[in-house]
Symmetry: C2
Subunit: 487 residues, 2 copies
Amino acid sequence: MENTENGKKLRVAIIGGGLVGSLSACYFGKRGHEVHLYEYRKDIRKDELARGRSINLALSTRGRRALAGVGLEDKLVSHHGLPMYARMLHMTDGSTRAVPYDPVNNQCIYSVGRRHLNQSLLDEAEDSYNVQTYFEHKLINIDFEDGKLYFRRPACIRNCYPSGPDYWALSTSYPGPEQTYWPDKAELIEAQADLIVGADGAFSTVRRLMSRRPLFNYSQQYIEHGYLELSIPPTEDNQFAMESEYLHIWPRGSFMLIALPNQDKSWTVTLFMSHQQFKSITKSDQLLEFFKTNFPDALKLIGEDRLVKDFFQYDSSSLLSVKCSPYNVGSRAVIIGDAAHAMVPFYGQGMNAGFEDCYLLDDLLHNHGLSLEDALEAFSKTRPINAHAICDLAMYNYVEMRDLVARSTFLWRKKLDTLLYTLAPSKWIPLYNSVTFSHMDYSKCISNRAMQDKALKRMLLAAAVGGLGIVIAVWQKTIRTYLGRKL
Amino acid sequence: MENTENGKKLRVAIIGGGLVGSLSACYFGKRGHEVHLYEYRKDIRKDELARGRSINLALSTRGRRALAGVGLEDKLVSHHGLPMYARMLHMTDGSTRAVPYDPVNNQCIYSVGRRHLNQSLLDEAEDSYNVQTYFEHKLINIDFEDGKLYFRRPACIRNCYPSGPDYWALSTSYPGPEQTYWPDKAELIEAQADLIVGADGAFSTVRRLMSRRPLFNYSQQYIEHGYLELSIPPTEDNQFAMESEYLHIWPRGSFMLIALPNQDKSWTVTLFMSHQQFKSITKSDQLLEFFKTNFPDALKLIGEDRLVKDFFQYDSSSLLSVKCSPYNVGSRAVIIGDAAHAMVPFYGQGMNAGFEDCYLLDDLLHNHGLSLEDALEAFSKTRPINAHAICDLAMYNYVEMRDLVARSTFLWRKKLDTLLYTLAPSKWIPLYNSVTFSHMDYSKCISNRAMQDKALKRMLLAAAVGGLGIVIAVWQKTIRTYLGRKL
């Protein structure tokens, strides 16, 4: 077994038992380290009421390679994922148009259920990789110098907090104000680790503690749009109500609806629009009118009663983009996944990038003969650039998906890309394909696209010059003919 | 007395007793509100050992207007400030060149001592405006809904914290890791306020608590360079060792030295260079060699022994730029000064912008018939754009001061600006002048400069076209002459 620092077995504390935390636990467990995973929520496998930030996700090549690394690709992708080969665009007039993700090699992305994925990863971590899990452990503080961690038990928080909101009710989507007033009877749990892995999501406590150290660059940016999840039930004969091999999109310029298929033949439908627009819809008839005008076909499938119930049950959620660096504190701590680079969901890469973090970190730690500190430094030198790149791409796709995707310029560019990709599949990889179906550095995907844009401009210029040449030739001939006739 | 919301007297809690907090306290006190000012350090008037982030500062027009609003301009500026009319550039060859700040109207900026300013403002707040001050009160939490504030007393923190660093030793320049483990005997102090004003600096606790609320955009960016303060003593006959009416600069491309005069005829000298470069100088002879090569004239004035002692006494400090929005939480809280917009120090506007916040907030709260909430919303809608603008300008000046300022293109542009400013003083205000000597919105200063750049380009183009016209005319004449001769 090749462990870090010449086979040294580390005591690893993973903070966060979501998708990225539990996969990371598998990786460290597989290498023979002693892994303790701390999660502040209840065990999702026992908690019927758990409500995540989104019900299903699009798994693509980067995520699959990372799952394969701990032997979970087949189990989770082939057996559980629902393939989606194209975007299916729904226009306002009811017409539809499929735009394949990869018309050349026919690759697909997979709709996977967050809950199933999370449960499987936790099972695997415990059963196959000997990971010790601790639920309802809220990280409070870290002493980065001596590797001490401090947790609070929620029973105490819920029962003892003298006033104010219930921390746990708030915390699935948003952590609420800090709780720093701990009464005497509060239960404090201490732990000790060689390495602390912060996989505690967009509102990461590990990152927050790191951000108070010198020279930590950080930004969090909310976008104007929020989202709200709705659903389309299976048909009466228990089939999908729409063709299932697509990611359905209703692009409407300043807002949009998307739908991803679930294992139980239902669809999770997500409405993205500005917080202001969400606030402006306060009554059932307003809501129905809005859907009748903009999404008449979707409305039929959702059903009016279900729409009204789901829409008014929860507030819309907000969307956050986080960039920071460095990702490590010496050889003591590292952040991965949303904790390091939360992004808006429009490129379907949030989970994939987080899973790729696990893969790359494992590789750096174990395959290059690096010390623990050097491996973390290397991760922190190379990964932020790529994370920032995919955050930017996701922000760009925020416009593309709801607006550009329905425009003819976008479709023409897509066709041109496809043509060139067909002609030179190893040289001309369109942006979406390099991001979704390759392991190319995200930053390389962007510089690649910039080169392609330049090349296209040159081609267009050459074509224009060529065209002009023809025009001139024809014109000269005409002149000559005219002169010939005249003379 | 015109109070907010039709004369309602507010209970105002100011967090932070630095320059901006104590000025803001004066403003609120002047309007008849009940003001409580909480500061986590010791009272600077009693603490001989207090060491601020920088010893002296450049006060300019915006700051002066704000001081005038509470009757302190004369006392602090005319009686205590040292006027600086120009930058004095020191070249490597020992030559010097003065570049006036305002060659047209001969306006100046003032070097003021942070400590004296802070002490005067605190005295004024207590004596003239009935402000109640509380020192060694560390803000721990805020309940924004009911306006409750929680503080800890440092005696307890220093004596009771079970392990780890001394919070107060660290906290002048950098707050250190969060202390959330409070032993049973910790003293907790509660307070209540209608309005909470966060003026608690670049590492603001108020902002940190606000940043965990939804839709709060935030970024903190450290630059590559740090700084370290040195000093030049008075001469033996107790005079300034250099001409005092200048801000002296030794621009050296990737690093620089600056010096501002103090009341006691000494100079505060600040060395700015990359953290890496700071780290690379570990021995006295290295340091002396570095100064002999780059700042021979300054070295003579500082003295070798003093340089070595000061340089190795403290670590270099880091420089941080903070942008965020919104600045308010409903009608309950607002952040001002560095808490809202810490910036790198290269435009000399950090304190001035913070003082301007006090002035503008007071104006919005009391002169426009707005409700408290509407006034704070208005502040939060208009101020961040301008704060972001000055943060960006300061970042730009980070390059200008250490590099561009010594280049001939910069000096030519400066001359051209001066010429046009002289010709049309109300229409062509150079960027530095609008920032430093006017109350123009910072964002307007930038757009103004962009317009000027465009106009200059057009002028240059016109000149070029004119020049080309002359060339062509001459050329045609030559041709004609030639042809005339030939024919």
